[in-house]
């Protein structure tokens, strides 16, 4: 019970810190934090697929971008579009895209899954570049109105004020993170973790695997869409770069650096990268160089990522192996060529 109280206090402190953050650190760092939070949700959404379901996507950026564009277009073309509606556009934009793709991808072998996402991702990127009429091409869409947070008759909060936007953003992103976390604790969460481990066996326990994958896929993409949506509103600009390969790499490397076997890992990964960018860009333009080195060092020496380090410090080295009960991704579909899937037909 002591543990519980300590945890509650810790969360309380953290919440307080979040609320006070802008007052403590100023507008510039507030904006940095918002960017971090966006990518934290984006990376976590990605890890729902990778770390929890074992599906490796090479093109998650297209869902991030879909959410961003959906919101931007809604705000640009719909007169007086309310804030939350724009957000919903972002969420559903991604979900619709995911649902369109899921019949194709839900039954694919893992490597085909990854590559097909790469292909579709690049396709979306190219479409975004070429369809200048809709997407504004390389320059993108920008300067759309950011509506206030408006409850009729009660309150209207101006969202162009970075301070207000900060609270809105962390409410949305934090709420989404909590939802994603809660999802992993539900029976459905158990099923997707089992799918990662042995999807054939899941079938043999009486669960419909393709439908399960489709649901988690849609949810993961939906969360990515929310992240993209907030991103678009935050920048008041969205261009094709959001769909580019760089944005597809970002959640992967953030997840790897943070620790792929845990829920919080990608959040830490996003934080680490945000800090690297901030610190490095003061001294040099070669931020990618530092990031590349960090990647190499992490993979070579701390493959479990930051959460592994945390586990070490906590003295629970089993944390790496068990990954807080969900197991470590040593790459289910990347088993060495001598490893066969356990249900191989024999006699």
């Amino acid at each position: 019970m002591m543990n519980r109280t300590i945890k509650r206090i810790a969360w309380g402190v953290m919440l307080l810190a979040l609320v006070l953050y802008p007052w403590l650190f100023g507008i510039y760092y507030t904006n940095v934090f918002v960017t971090f939070a966006i990518f934290a949700l984006y990376a976590v959404s990605y890890n729902l697929l990778l770390g929890f379901t074992g599906l490796f996507s090479f093109g998650h950026a297209m869902f991030f971008g879909a959410g961003a564009y959906a919101t931007a277009l809604a705000l640009t073309h719909i007169e007086g579009c309310p804030l939350l509606v724009a957000l919903l556009f972002g969420f559903f934009g991604s979900v619709v895209l995911a649902l369109l793709l899921s019949p194709i991808v839900a039954r694919l072998a893992h490597s085909a899954f990854a590559m097909l996402h790469l292909a579709f991702g690049m396709l979306m990127y190219t479409l975004a570049l070429k369809l200048r009429g809709i997407t504004g091409g390389e320059d993108g869409i920008g300067g759309f109105p950011i509506p206030p947070f408006h409850i009729p008759g009660v309150v209207s909060v101006d969202m162009t004020d970075p301070l207000n936007f900060y609270y809105f953003a962390i409410a949305v992103l934090g709420g989404s993170l909590w939802l994603a976390w809660y999802l992993t604790k539900t029976p459905f969460g158990q099923i997707i973790v089992s799918v990662r481990d042995n999807d054939k066996r899941v079938d043999y326990m009486g669960f419909k695997v393709p439908q399960t994958k489709a649901v988690i896929y849609a949810l993961s993409c939906g969360f990515a869409g929310i992240a993209g949506s907030v991103y678009a509103m935050f920048q008041d600009l969205i261009s094709a770069a959001a769909l580019g390969i760089g944005h597809s790499f970002a959640p992967i490397v953030m997840t790897m650096v943070g620790g792929v076997a845990s829920f919080a890992g990608p959040i830490w990964g996003a934080a680490i990268f945000a800090m690297i960018e901030e610190l490095t860009s003061r001294y040099t333009e070669r931020v990618l160089l530092v990031e590349g080195l960090v990647l190499i060092i992490v993979v070579m020496f701390f493959p479990g990522g930051f959460m592994y380090l945390v586990g070490l410090i906590k003295g629970k080295w089993l944390g790496f192996i068990r990954g807080k009960g969900f197991g470590v991704i040593t790459g289910q579909w990347f088993t060495k060529r001598s490893g066969k899937k356990a249900t191989e037909d024999d006699s």
Binding site: M122, R286, L289, P303
Partner: protein, 290 residues
């Protein structure tokens, strides 16, 4: 030969030249992936690195031919070091980690060239011997492009010969098909891995030198070539040289003719083609590896 046909042929030669360069890069990549299962994201960075090495050798010695010899080997050396000291250690962790590592290597190489050579386009001249035009059937074609095609075929032939007519080649092909079995036969597989990685990188290096005079040397070289090479490997099939060749040539011709006549659609066509192929046959045209 009338002007229109000549234009088509000229387009064809451009396309073929680009396709052959693409094939050189892709062949290295597909060999590396076919054998070691590493999707080496940094491969195109090596391609670019070699172009920079080539530039440097020319700056120091003035000789393109020397650069053609030295730069790919130097690049291969870097590749071998990466394999030996980085990739090998984490091989057991699985593809995801290999992938992340090679992304890191790519970032490092891409930024390192900016540190050493700056960010501008560095011009490189076609060597005097290969400058100028050649007369074929009444029309004139750039000699250098023809040289590239010829060189690529030469290398391809050499590669094919080694792979299919020598014992070494047989071992490599066996290792591509079943690395564990080859290991069990007592062959030093780690050394073989290193060798193939080196050769694959060398191929990318040759392509880098070849393309340098055409595109000039600049940090964006890796991006430009990058996606195309990966698409070729994926669609042609991981580990399949024949598939890579076919797709690379088609791709080169497509983008060459496409650029002229259907400019906006060319990249879209490529991606849709890839997506369709994968949806129908998830291992690519000729690939066997899952």
């Amino acid at each position: 030969m009338d002007a229109t046909t000549a234009m088509y042929v000229a387009q064809g030669i451009h396309g073929l030249a680009y396709g052959m360069i693409l094939f050189l890069v892709a062949s290295g990549l597909t060999l590396i992936f076919g054998m070691m299962g590493i999707l080496n994201i940094a491969h195109t960075a090596f391609f670019m690195l070699s172009a920079y090495f080539c530039y440097q050798v020319v700056v120091w010695t003035g000789s393109f031919w020397l650069a053609l010899l030295v730069a790919p080997i130097a690049t291969a050396l870097v590749g071998v070091l990466v394999e030996r000291f980085l990739l090998r250690k984490i091989h057991a962790l699985g593809l995801l980690y290999e992938l992340t590592l090679t992304v890191g290597v790519m970032f490092v190489i891409m930024e390192a060239v900016k540190v050493f050579w700056g960010t501008e386009n560095l011009p490189l001249l076609v060597p005097p011997l290969l400058q100028g035009l050649v007369d074929i059937g009444g029309m004139e074609y750039p000699l250098y492009r023809l040289f590239i095609i010829g060189l690529s075929f030469l290398i391809l032939g050499f590669l094919a010969f080694i792979l299919y007519k020598t014992r070494l080649g047989m071992i490599v092909r066996a290792a591509v098909a079943d690395p564990d079995m080859v290991n069990a036969l007592g062959i030093n597989v780690p050394f073989l891995f290193m060798f193939v990685f080196g050769v694959g990188t060398w191929l990318a290096g040759v392509a880098g030198v070849a393309i340098a005079p055409i595109l000039t040397v600049f940090p964006g070289l890796a991006d430009q070539m990058g996606m195309d090479a990966f698409i070729v490997v994926i669609v042609g099939g991981f580990g399949s040289l024949g598939g890579a060749f076919m797709v690379a040539v088609i791709s080169g011709l497509l983008s060459s003719y496409g650029v002229q006549f259907v400019s906006q659609l060319a990249p879209v066509l490529m991606f849709m083609f890839m997506a369709v192929v994968l949806a129908i046959k998830p291992t690519g045209f000729f690939g066997e590896r899952e």
